[in-house]
Assembly symmetry: C2
Homo-oligomer: 162 residues x 2
């Protein structure tokens, strides 16, 4: 079953709330041409990300978003909807990423997140690591990108007895 | 041996020019605080990327760049120095990424690129894929991030006989 809401809410979400097997969907974000060009100018000035006219004769037959732009937009959806506002401790890295289909101006991106694994730290028992599979989809529900994500999340504080 | 120049030049570089075992270094890019905040606002609004004051009490003891910002800056160094301006055909994805040390305001990033493998396509003999190991370093030459990159590159056109 896929959930579009994640309970508890993002301000009260801890390691224990990421249950392996859970699936969530969030989105969407519109990818505008100017955003594609702006990202490309700053970070990835390859012709097919940067120049609409020249891109037409390039390998993708038109302008496409940098894969790192798509990755960053998927991250935005993750931060706004899935990660915790109170217990997130960053990430030691990422598993493999696949860019499966081009992202073009006007596309609307959403994400489907599957919790793969949640492992409590042995050495630091106040936290654990979660491993997730992120599928980024366009408005046709084509998967344009996949990524394995890893996050360190603090455990729920033990509540004081009354 | 590490090279800081890659011959042939970027406007005349093809699949055949990426020789497994070659190592190159390129850089640097200064990471300014406003760039960290700007990237975080757009793509990764976690407190330790976004709010200098609150970041002080966070898991990294201060503001740090989003890992995707670091990835994007390493990509910029790759596009400006290592990839080809004439033969690049994009990427099917990325291998694993490790974020090893925080990137903080004022850091200067450079990259060391090792060509791991170059495989000519069997089905499309006009191109090949290159597999590279990218180490992103700060001004102290600490490796802050590593990534396995994959790129599709066109082969050098066969020159017409006179």
């Amino acid at each position: 079953m896929t959930n579009s809401e994640f309970n508890p809410p993002i301000e009260d979400r801890y390691f224990e709330d990421y249950i392996p097997g859970s699936v969530y969907e969030f989105g969407s974000i519109l990818v505008e041409e100017k955003d594609i060009l702006d990202f490309a100018q700053k970070f990835d000035p390859q012709i097919f990300h940067l120049d609409k006219d020249k891109a037409r004769n390039g390998p993708f037959g038109g302008l496409i978003a940098s894969g790192w732009h798509t990755t960053a937009l998927a991250m935005r959806l993750l931060v706004d909807n899935f990660l915790s506002k109170v217990a997130g401790m960053g990430s030691p890295g990422s598993g493999p990423i696949r860019f499966l289909k081009p992202v073009r101006p006007g596309d609307e991106l959403s994400i489907r997140v599957t919790v793969l694994k949640a492992t409590r730290s042995r050495s630091k028992p106040d936290r654990g690591s979660i491993r997730i599979y992120i599928e980024t989809m366009n408005q046709h529900r084509d998967v344009v990108m996949t990524r394995i994500g890893i996050g360190i999340v603090r455990c729920r504080p033990v509540s004081k007895k009354a």
